[in-house]
């Protein structure tokens, strides 16, 4: 059988965190993470206006995101890197735009899909892939963050599960509109992620695992989920 690589290859060698190439790529990846956490904070606060009876819980989730953001800002300082925030704002703008439109129209289902499912699943995948190749400082911070992100994904999942029958159509439409954007974001960041030794293939697969799990928990069937998720694979 043509499989001769050493098992030691399973344990990825760490990148050199001090090279200009690493720092350059990190300035964008780190900015994406910081911007993502900031937007997540803002989005949960906004969601509180659409679901007033849960505004307090959503504010609690939002506070966690701000704490994460500060942690990742410290990661940049630790590596002596300046996060490229204009790049990150641009990176998130299509998804940010769709969230704002849905918010203005009072579409809570679309807002939850974008923030609590797509962005959280994206974050969970990225953090899991990053942790084994992170510098020791960032690794510790990220390990703490990733567990919180599951809480956030779970929030959206439970709300949508409880409201599936009235949400189903809007969820499918929102999925069609927004999942291709996530795929584009993954493609856009693939080069920089590779410098950090994070593989695009694994990022996509891990993202889909988290996203599909959430859809299954909400109540979609395997075939529905595969159909919905395919938009992220086709690219």
């Amino acid at each position: 059988m043509p499989v001769a690589e050493s098992t030691s290859a399973l344990r990825e060698a760490l990148p050199d965190f001090t090279t200009p190439a690493y720092k350059d790529a990190y300035s964008r990846i780190n900015a994406i993470v910081i911007e993502g956490e900031q937007e997540a904070h803002d989005n949960y606060i906004s969601l509180g206006t659409l679901i007033p009876d849960q505004a307090e819980e959503l504010a609690r989730l939002a506070r966690m995101e701000l704490k994460h953001m500060k942690g990742f800002q410290a990661c940049a300082r630790n590596l002596d890197v300046v996060a490229d925030m204009p790049f990150a704002k641009d990176f998130f703008s299509p998804l940010h735009g769709n969230f704002q439109v849905a918010l203005a129209e009072g579409k809570v289902v679309t807002c939850l899909l974008i923030q609590a499912l797509l962005i959280e699943a994206f974050a969970i995948a990225a953090y899991h892939i990053y942790i084994p190749v992170a510098d020791p400082f960032a690794r510790k911070i990220t390990e703490g963050v990733v567990q919180d992100e599951y809480t956030h994904l779970n929030y959206g999942q439970e709300w949508l599960k409880a409201n599936l029958e009235t949400s189903r159509n809007e969820l499918e439409i929102a999925n069609r509109q927004n999942l291709p954007l996530v795929r584009q974001m993954l493609d856009q960041v693939a080069g920089d992620a590779a410098v950090l030794k994070m593989e695009k293939e694994g990022l996509i697969e891990d993202f889909l695992i988290a996203y599909q799990e959430a859809l299954a928990e909400i109540g979609f069937t395997s075939r529905e989920i595969a159909r919905m998720a395919a938009a992220a694979l086709v690219g």
């Binding site: 098992t7 293939e201 697969e205 595969a226 395919a230 694979l233």
Partner: protein
């Protein structure tokens, strides 16, 4: 609840399967897309044994295809992600089918127990190799005499003798069947010497030396595409049991008196209502399946929720007997030679 982790035999088959199951985007996707595709729980099924016990299970496709073997990270990710899905679905015992267990073993994936937030519990998985080894041995014991081969005098070549299944087959043939002589063929010389010492018998030979001498050949190694067998040098009759993966020996040997039997395949006593193996290369997909899959089913029937087959070269004749008895109890039978083939041989002899 039991689980089966499987995959398609090749990429084209995978796309066809996806099309048949209504996964159109997958059917149209290229190999790169499949490399990023997460495992899918494709089917839930139930089986009732002859005694009336009913069990439930699930089939998971890892979305791995053999074309990914050269992509080391992809292949390992597919296996581990499928195992994680099985565990998260609460499957008590899951068989690693096809290349899944080979990849797990060859890359020593037991060292990678943490998959994201899940710690894999090895007790929930089995390679199914004990049942596969037992089925191959029974296929040999039942079918060789039908071809007029006297096992007490027969030379039996085991190709892949030092592997998990191969070494178990050797021990059984030595201690239980009592064949004339074992011809041991494998790539690793030291492992061959160790096996010979442990068995206290057996002759170590190169493949091209062993084949012309053998009355029975048990293949439990994957055959390289480039392998060519000169059938004119083989004995007749000769029983070849194709226990490797993938099962492609019949494409390499096609001559009168040479009988190729798909090894490590069992047949259930009644039809099973499942779609998945209909697209696999089985003659009777409603009843036939890989013995490794059947092992998970047997463990569930028996309530033996443990990694019955795990690690390398730990299979004993006792565990083979134990799983073999369960196999019979729950309605499984090792696949036999096509009766038409045996009759044509009889015609030649007469």
């Amino acid at each position: 609840m039991f689980g089966l982790i499987g995959h398609s035999s090749n990429f084209e088959e995978a796309r066809q399967k996806a099309r048949n199951l209504g996964y159109d985007d997958y059917a149209e996707g290229d190999l790169d897309m499949w490399c990023s595709a997460p495992p899918q729980l494709l089917e839930r099924l139930s089986l009732t044994s002859p005694s009336g016990t009913t069990i439930e299970g699930a089939y998971i496709d890892s979305c791995f295809v053999p074309e990914m073997l050269s992509r080391f990270k992809t292949a390992t990710r597919k296996v581990l992600n499928a195992m994680e899905l099985a565990q998260k679905q609460g499957l008590a015992i899951t068989a690693l089918g096809g290349f899944t267990s080979i990849i797990f073993e060859n890359f020593d994936l037991a060292k990678v127990q943490q998959i994201r937030s899940t710690t894999l519990d090895w007790e929930r998985f089995t390679t199914g190799n004990t049942h596969t080894a037992w089925v191959i041995c029974r296929q040999l014991e039942v079918n060789a005499p039908l071809l007029g081969i006297d096992l007490a005098r027969a030379k039996v070549a085991v190709v892949g003798a030092t592997g998990d299944i191969g070494s178990a087959v050797c021990r059984w043939l030595q201690n239980k069947t009592g064949v004339g002589e074992l011809l041991l063929v494998a790539r690793h010389q030291q492992r061959l010497l160790d096996l010979q010492t442990a068995l206290g018998s057996g002759r170590i030979l190169a493949l091209e030396e062993a084949l012309p001498e053998a009355d029975v050949v048990v293949w439990v190694a994957s055959l390289p595409q480039s392998l060519e067998i000169d059938w004119r040098t083989l004995k007749t009759p000769c029983l070849m049991i194709d226990g490797g993966y993938p099962k492609n020996l019949d494409s390499k040997v096609n001559a009168q008196g040479i009988h190729v039997l798909k090894g490590g395949i069992v047949e259930f006593f009644t039809d099973i209502d499942w779609q998945m193996l209909e697209v696999a290369d089985m003659e009777n997909p409603k009843r036939q399946m890989f013995a490794c899959f059947a092992e998970a089913i047997l463990l569930e029937f028996e309530g033996w929720h443990t990694n019955f087959s795990w690690g390398r070269n730990r299979i004993t004749t006792q565990t083979m007997e134990q799983i073999g008895a369960a196999s019979g109890r729950h309605g499984f039978k090792p696949l036999g030679l096509d009766p038409a083939g045996i009759l044509s041989l009889a015609g030649v002899v007469l």
